[in-house]
């Protein structure tokens, strides 16, 4: 009996483990090793150079520019996306006209809003990035021709061509495509909060702002925290949008350069695979620091209801 059980366990685990080990675990481990070598990626020969890559990293201006952009994305994107997500979800769930006997009511047609908001989420990031590349086109793009149509002909920014604007254009696209996900996520969380909590608060004279900050937000805190981690990981990646959409790619004057795209160019264009993995290790460290901070700051006692 026991023998049969272990054979069954081994039989079920061997294939998933083998595939996972070969294509995920081993490349990660190798990457850390290669970060200490001068491997070009073009030939099998390389030598171990110790911490030379890391010293080079320290003096690499483009690296620090990318880190700066990643940190900016990491601060702005989750704040804006989750903020908008919470706002719209709250509007959907308690912004409705009060009906008889109900303390709070959802707006009419909230289902349709959620369906529409979720559209970008089911599209490939490649489609979204291409779409906005055309929309941002300074001559015939949707944005500038809209500006002309409403009489703002003198404004017409260069969007992606303007070094001061390009990164904000990238952020806008990422916010645009992700808000719907959080609206649906928070909306599901909010609808499971018992109605009598709101009733009690309204009877005590709380206004809607107070009910949001005193009831909704604390009870949703776990979901918000998970969402924050998701969005942070998205901000640290942002490879596809930068590679497909921005000029260069990487933006005019490195204005949209991020770690993931810099790594890609070093590895697959410049033949510096060893240095690229060093950049990857830096990205891993930034990711771990971020996750650590969110977990530490977000730790609260879990509320159940």
């Amino acid at each position: 009996m026991q023998h049969g059980k272990y054979r069954f366990i081994a039989g079920f685990l061997v294939l998933p483990l083998a595939i996972y080990g070969i294509f995920v675990i081993s490349p990660f481990v190798q990457a850390i090793y290669y970060s200490f070598t001068d491997w070009t990626g073009l030939s099998p020969d390389f030598r171990v150079t110790g911490t030379e890559n890391y010293r080079r990293l320290w003096n690499d201006d483009v690296f620090w520019t990318s880190v700066g952009h990643n940190v900016l994305l990491l601060l702005v994107l989750p704040l804006v996306t989750i903020g908008l997500g919470l706002f719209f979800a709250f509007m959907l769930n308690v912004g409705g006209r009060r009906r008889k006997n109900a303390a709070v009511a959802g707006v009419r047609g909230s289902g349709i809003y959620k369906v529409v908001y979720f559209f970008p989420q089911v599209l490939s990031i490649a489609i979204v990035a291409l779409l906005f590349q055309f929309a941002y086109n300074p001559n015939s793009g949707a944005l500038n021709s809209f500006l002309s149509a409403v009489g703002l002909d003198s404004v017409r920014p260069e969007w992606l061509g303007d070094p001061d604007l390009a990164l904000w254009c990238v952020m806008a696209v990422m916010v645009w495509s992700n808000v719907g996900f959080y609206v649906v996520l928070f909306s599901a969380g909010m609808s499971s909060i018992p109605r009598d909590f709101y009733e009690a608060a309204l009877l005590d004279g709380a206004n809607r702002l107070q009910t949001f900050f005193r009831i909704t937000l604390p009870l949703l805190w776990d979901t918000v925290q998970t969402g924050w981690v998701y969005m942070g990981i998205m901000a640290l990646d942002s490879f596809a949008v930068v590679q497909i959409m921005t000029i260069g790619p990487g933006g005019p004057d490195y204005s949209t350069e991020v770690l993931s795209f810099y790594l890609y160019t070093k590895a697959f264009r410049d033949g510096q695979a060893g240095y690229a993995t060093t950049l990857g290790v830096a990205l891993l460290i930034v990711t771990l620091i971020f996750a650590g901070i969110v977990m530490k700051l977000g730790r609260r006692e879990r509320l159940e209801y």
Binding site: V24, G41, G141, A142, I233, A267
Partner: protein, 315 residues
Amino acid sequence: MRVRTTRSTARSAARSTGASGIPAQRGKRAEGPRGSRVGSEGGLLNVFSHGVLLLWALMVTLPLLWAVMSAFKTDKEIFTSPWSPPSGLHVDAWGRAWYQAHMSQYFLNSLIVVAGSLAGTMLLGSMAAYVLARFEFPGNRFLYYLFVAGMSFPIILALVPLFFVMENMHLLNTYPGLILVYIAYSLPFTIFFLSGFFRTLPTSVAEAALIDGASHTRTFFQVMLPMARPGLISVGIFNFLGQWNQYLLPTVLNVGDDDKKLLPQGLVALAVSQGYKGDWSGLFAGLVMAMLPVLGAYIVFQRQVQAGLTAGALK
């Protein structure tokens, strides 16, 4: 402990206000100052909330509509009047995108790869998740966390060595290679989600099947998998969309012939090549062609898709 206190304080708060005469106010004086204040605030708020909600709905749909409109225009119209509707239904761009620009080929390639990888992910993921969730053995927790850790690492770090691993195994630029990689990178979430799901299923049914003489394997396929159907559907939708829309992995690992590209990377290639030719309408046609099937399927299965994509974050 904390759980109980919060709940009971909230409840007792509700009850005590209720007991101290509020019901009387509700009865006759419901139209009094408090009632009307809340009511009018609700009305104003309702207008405001519909306003902002509608604004965002427009911001989401207008770019998509603009793309659909552009796909039916001539190149000249796209340049001179981006926001006016097309002068007629010009569909020749669709033919160019579908046949000459390989869109039909890209669709087929994506179908082949995703069919293989989705089946593999679901089978292998549910097997591993089941064993890790329901059986005690040395190393169980270690393996579980090994798999789950894969969710939070930046994939791009692994891609540089992975490129050469694939090259050495002669899997670079091949469909079997892509299928295996898609499976490998989908396993962490699939195992995380499904093992949580398997843990919630009752043990009695599986035990009954074992007592009746079914093997562990048979119990899994004929008893446990059917019971886990809701979870399998959620994670299946999640994986399908993730793999169908995948851009990073094929961009690095599928760099062979142009007509072997998968849909998202093929679309980017098409944007570059049609851009050189100045064939903007063909480009928009390709974009819309790639967009509509997914949006259509989503509208039909909206509830399941929304549940599937948010399932991981809601746990």
